[in-house]
């Protein structure tokens, strides 16, 4: 959604984001003065998230979903582009100026078995961010905040869990602890990087419902996932990434029901349906995503695209509105409408 049509002020606006990682040449390569190579992890990504909105960034491994999120929270430096959070450009802020903003953008990770310190009790884990940010002085106030965050994260009653160690908790409970530790800082934006992919099916829905509840309470949520079914169910909008670019973006249900980009169409066609009688006709793309060190020319998808034409090798398509489809549904393909 562009800023012009945004109703409320956007929480996060990302424009033309570029992130590159250098590749080690090795001693031999350096001595031979081989050119320095880089991986273009994020290659001109633009999107925005409003308060109370959940945007899902979907795509295959290596498409740049996580790099995008890490660049947004300034864990990784961007090469170009702008990141505006509540109207303030944060892409160039120094560490000191960033600090108060870090409170407002929190991230939770895929693996709650790895992301929690095994020697920290639930209390220690949730309390740590308060201490780091020096938010509350009295221990009573701190304890109250921890309890409140635990209740919001569905760890109720808090007394039951607060003195436990991670190994005494199930996967779903661990992920709730990670969420509580993020909520205790009262962030405006929550980034959830594959929040349920390590969890059992039976508990996934609970965690996703929790994120959905936070969204309804006005939080912005950026969910990174490879699971289109989850994205279609819980997100307001879906952005599909391929090789560092957003190739399609729009209202979640529209994107999965009426995909426009040939890549999205193929991706949707291979998602297994729950009903065995609804046999899908998978449109299997051959090969795997190309190496992002040597980006294909023109449209990055053309070497695997089933409908590519000669000019797709030359023209690098921009995201544009699809005519006759819902407003706010955009795709980056020169053949749009003709497909």
């Amino acid at each position: 959604m562009s800023a012009a049509e945004g109703t409320a002020a956007q929480l996060l606006e990302v424009e033309g984001l570029v992130t590159r990682y250098p590749i080690a040449r090795g001693l031999y390569g350096a001595l031979r003065r081989q050119p320095k190579l880089t991986v273009q992890a994020v290659n001109g990504v633009s999107f925005s998230i409003g308060a109370g909105e959940m945007v899902a960034l979907v795509g295959e491994s290596g498409c740049g979903k996580t790099s995008t999120a890490q660049t947004v929270i300034r864990m990784v430096a961007s090469e170009a582009g702008s990141i505006r959070f509540r109207g303030t450009e944060i892409g160039a802020l120094g560490a000191r100026e960033l600090r108060p903003l870090r409170r407002e953008i929190q991230i939770i990770y895929q693996d709650p078995y790895e992301s929690l310190d095994p020697r920290f009790t639930v209390r220690d884990t949730i309390e740590e961010p308060i201490r780091v940010h020096g938010l509350v002085d009295s221990s009573a106030a701190r304890e109250a905040k921890v309890h409140e965050a635990m209740e919001r994260a569905g760890l109720t009653p808090p007394e039951l869990f607060i003195d436990r160690y991670p190994h005494e908790l199930s996967g779903g409970q661990r992920q709730r602890v990670a969420i509580a530790a993020a909520l205790v800082l009262e962030p405006k934006l929550l980034i959830a990087d594959e929040p349920v992919s390590m969890l059992d099916v039976s508990v996934r829905a609970g965690i996703l419902a929790l994120l959905d509840g936070l969204r309804k309470d006005g939080m912005g949520v950026l969910m990174i996932t490879h699971d289109l079914s989850t994205a279609a169910h819980f997100a307001d909008r879906i952005a599909v990434m391929y090789l560092g670019r957003i190739v399609e973006e729009g209202p979640a249900k529209q994107v999965v029901r009426n995909p426009q980009h040939p890549y999205t169409k193929a991706l949707i066609s291979v998602v297994p349906r729950r009903d065995p009688d609804q046999q899908t006709v998978p449109q299997i793309l051959q090969g795997e995503t190309p190496n992002p060190i040597r980006m294909p020319s023109g449209c990055h998808f053309h070497p695997r695209c089933p409908v590519a034409e000669a000019r797709c090798k030359e023209i690098d398509p921009e995201l544009r509105e699809v005519e006759g489809v819902d407003p706010g549904h955009r795709a980056a393909c020169i053949l749009l409408g003709a497909l």
Binding site: D200, V201, T230, A232, L267, P272, R274, P276, I284, E288
Partner: protein
Amino acid sequence: MSSREPVIRVEDLHVWFELPGGGELHAVQGVTFELREGERMGLVGESGCGKTTTILAIMGLLPATASVSGKVILDGEDILVGGEDTISPHRWNDISMVFQGAMNAFNPVKKIGEQIAEPMELHGLASGKAARAQVRELLELVGISGDRADRYPHEFSGGMRQRAAIAMALACSPKVLLADEPTTALDVMVQAQILELLVRLSTTLGKELGLTVILVTHDLPVVAQVCDRAAVMYAGEIVEMGGMSTIYHDPRHPYTRMLFAATPDLLGDDEVISIPGAPPRLDRELVGCPFRPRCDSAFEPCATVHPRRLEPMPGHQALCHLNDSAMTEAAS
């Protein structure tokens, strides 16, 4: 399916693990099923319900702390009866397995082709030139160019390594393939390629007829799209088993219904609902139905009486009092 004899029949399989602090964990509790040639069955359920233990028991690959009882019948012969002595002639030759994470288990300093040839050489089926020729054929069968036999694992992508792992499992031309979470770490596009391969192998295997496949996964949509039948495991038991379509449209165990309801569908609009609670510990005697504390339809007998295995429809089994008119009538 025709009335041909089953290829494999598992009868009243039990597995106990000795616990370090004393006591036992009853991980698999009377699993029984049979499969015909070319059938694909999904074994589904939450982590810790006994899926992997079941297939490791069939392969005779459980650690020494496990004790196993029951039968695994192949061609009329119980291969479990003499322990390792009776299992080993059949392992890889008749039943083989693609292990969870197999694609990351290749030896990084050995060529892929050599590793695929290893089971053939160990089982004395082929060696040298003949083995190399067969490796090429196997690689082509799973959709990899035969020339890549001389490559090392790091030169393969994840999806190709998984194909190579399947090729290795097929090295001794087995009749039954046990695949443990074969697509779990893969992207959807690569997953679709691997699933297509499994379906193709079970429909035709070279010139011969199909491979029988047991697909262990927690991913219900994968099973729904790939398998003819599904067996749902809970707390070490198969609580429901039947044709895929009936399992989905007319489940006879609340656990099956609740598992599907917890799984989002790409185009579905229904609310996705998690299952409260967690599976029970299996290191103590369970009274009544093990699913009762989490069940949304439990009634009086569930607390005290373990449900009988009933066949509410031909070829469809469930382990739930709701199918037992004696129980439902007594309760009402």
